[in-house]
């Protein structure tokens, strides 16, 4: 049975204005996230994955602007939202956990007060009620409710990030966006936090858009993964299929660039070269310069992002599989 689509991004284009011209940070990205799905978005630094997260929350600022496409949340285009509609959308429908555990919280306000701000901004409840809710939220992430009165600097990095996760769940949103939530934390803390996130997802049923450059981490926990390269989506597939049968040479390269803990010893392969200039992108496939499967037409023709299997999409002229 096909689950309800919560978020549907269509042909999203985002540009940053730089001195030399517009940087095409995201060009023509499309994907769907279903109810309760754990959707991963992976790619190198600068490939546009965080830009997508910020676009969904309409938090892009300054030099960045959305130049095309749609972001539909339960059928409504977020990009068309008015002020109040947007305010309600933020946190009630979709919440977010940002990368840096250290700077996610206001340093001069207690974490309790910051948790309550999220509740009080959206629901007409008394302060006592909000306090109780905040205590329950802290319990969700295994933090003693007495810590409500603590200031962020009195907590460890991992605890702070758990507070932000608790905050993200305060209004029971349909979608929680995690933008590299554990990058700044050590591996053990990272593991515990991710495990708790998955437990909470299973209990509460929200969908997750998880953004990271840590592909091995993502392979362990996502339902579906999309791989981005230079502002474009190159492949999207259910995790198992992606691991077994990657269709795009870039995906294949990524999968071979980290070791498997339990598998046989294999020589690791990196991907030669670097990302193309996104102000004046080369014609044809953006990955062509670094691709081991490159053929002549790759530099001329832009590959379509097309369906090649059940839930499996790929943008390549010479896919590694039919």
């Amino acid at each position: 049975m096909e689950k309800e689509i919560i978020l549907s991004v269509k042909d999203l284009c985002v540009e940053y204005q730089a001195d030399r011209g517009a940087v095409h940070a995201v060009s023509g990205v499309s994907f769907d996230i279903h109810k309760g799905e754990f959707f991963g978005l992976a790619g190198e630094s600068g490939c546009g994955k965080s830009t997508i997260a910020f676009s969904i929350m309409r938090l892009l600022k300054g030099a960045a602007s959305i130049t095309g496409g749609e972001i539909n949340f339960r059928g409504k285009n977020v990009l068309m939202f008015g002020k109040e509609e947007l305010r309600v959308f933020r946190w009630e429908k979709s919440s977010m956990v940002l990368q840096s555990a250290m700077n996610n919280l206001n340093p001069v306000v207690t974490i309790g007060s910051q948790l309550m701000d999220a509740i009080l901004a959206h629901e007409a409840v008394s302060r006592e009620e909000a306090t109780k809710r905040a205590e329950k939220l802290l319990a969700l992430v295994n933090i003693d409710s007495k810590r409500l009165k603590a200031y962020p600097h009195e907590l460890s990095g991992g605890m702070r990030q758990r507070v932000v996760i608790a905050m993200a769940l305060a209004l029971k949103p349909d979608l929680v966006i995690f933008d590299e939530p554990t990058t700044a934390l050590d591996v053990v803390v990272q593991y515990n936090i991710i495990r708790r996130i998955i437990q909470l997802k299973n209990e509460m049923g929200f969908a997750i858009l998880f953004i990271t450059h840590d592909l091995p981490l993502m392979l362990q926990m996502c339902d579906r993964i999309a791989i981005m390269y230079a502002g474009k989506m190159v492949e999207a597939a259910p995790v198992e299929e992606l691991m077994k049968q990657p269709a795009h040479p870039y995906t294949s390269g990524l999968l071979q660039s980290f070791p498997s803990l339990l598998g046989p010893k294999v020589r690791l392969k990196g991907i030669e070269g670097s990302v193309p200039d996104l102000i004046t992108p080369p014609p044809g496939c953006l990955f062509a310069d670094r691709c081991f499967a490159r053929k002549e037409d790759c530099r001329k023709k832009v590959p379509e992002f097309e369906k090649i299997g059940e839930g499996h999409y790929c943008a390549c002229l010479h896919k590694l599989r039919g």
Partner: protein
């Protein structure tokens, strides 16, 4: 744990007292390093001046004693709250002169500091909120321009323009002896006289503070917790006050406390330009006439106020910034 720890307060207090002692000692030495002899100076100003007269004065002032004896005497008198007797206004006690001058200085300096900080916070925030706009560019441009002008020149220009040519405001002094009548009339006259000095100080100090507030706000705006506050769907006013301003005002608060500490001694140039009868002008005159006790008295008051306000700032800061604890 937050809150006052007695040990911390005592430690701060001891360090404040120590600082004060150093300042008061330098205070004692500095005038004596100026060269020249106050008794001879005074004798030379007097109709009956002679070397014998100067010798008599020296004995009267205790200047014939050794420097060490003078120092001990000075500290002893200070501890009793006795600032001595002015040489040039003999035998008026230094305390009376200072008590008369201090309210004038505090009036113009505190008024200008409060106006300047309030304007700086308001305009700096507005400028940051409208970054890149015409208003912002105008504010930043003007600020850099004003900041590069020396204070005394601004002061003199203002006296010349509004005092001399336009004659809108008096060119000096704190009040007009001719104005009598009720409290309101006198207060009005005092405000009228204080207007130009305050204006000049506000103009000059505003620029730097405004630029600082603007950059504080911009820096805070780029923090993740502001982005998260926006993502939380909080109202704009709440994000600005609880999340942005509370953080952006912290460095400015230290600035405010330090400025208030320097309030007493901070207006020497202003008082000279506007012949305003405060501590600054008194100090200047005392220095010119080698009036040791008066110089010492003025500097002592300045030192005490700086040290006290720093001590207070140390005690208050942990209450507004939880990251700084009193231990």
């Amino acid at each position: 744990m937050r809150g006052f720890s007695l040990k911390y307060v005592i430690k701060r207090f001891i360090s404040a007292v120590f600082t004060l002692w150093i300042a008061l000692t330098i205070n004692f030495l500095l005038p004596r390093c100026m060269g020249g002899d106050p008794a001879e100076y005074l004798a030379s100003q007097s109709a009956m001046g002679s070397l014998e007269y100067a010798e008599l004065m020296k004995q009267q002032f205790g200047l014939d004693k050794s420097i060490f004896e003078q120092y001990i005497l000075y500290l002893k008198e200070l501890l009793h709250g006795n600032l001595g007797v002015s040489y040039m206004n003999f035998p008026t006690p230094v305390k009376d002169i200072i008590l008369e001058a201090i309210p004038w200085t505090l009036l113009i300096v505190i008024t200008s500091i409060l106006i300047s900080f309030a304007l700086a916070w308001f305009l700096g925030t507005l400028s940051a909120l409208k970054k890149g706009s015409f208003f912002d560019n105008a504010v930043v441009g003007t600020s850099f321009y004003i900041q590069s002008i020396p204070y005394f020149w601004v002061g003199m220009l203002i006296v010349m323009a509004f005092g001399y040519y336009l004659e809108w405001f008096p060119m000096g002094h704190a009040q007009d002896a001719a104005v009598t009548g009720g409290f309101l009339a006198q207060a009005g006259d005092i405000a009228y006289h204080a207007f130009l000095p305050v204006l000049s100080m506000v103009i000059v100090s505003l620029a730097g503070r405004m630029i600082m507030m603007r950059s504080n706000i911009l820096q805070v705006f780029s923090e993740d917790y502001i982005v998260l506050a926006q993502a939380k769907g909080l109202k704009k006013g709440k994000i600005l006050t609880k999340y942005a301003l509370r953080n952006a005002l912290l460095p400015s608060f230290t600035g405010l406390m330090l400025s208030l500490g320097q309030a007493v001694g901070g207006a020497i140039a202003t008082e000279l330009v506007f012949s305003y009868p405060g501590i600054g002008l008194t100090t200047m005159n005392a220095i010119l006439s080698h009036d040791y006790p008066l110089i010492q008295g003025c500097f002592a008051i300045i030192a005490v106020s700086v040290v006290t306000l720093n001590f207070l700032a140390d005690l208050i800061y942990p209450l507004i910034d939880p990251r700084v604890s009193l231990s």
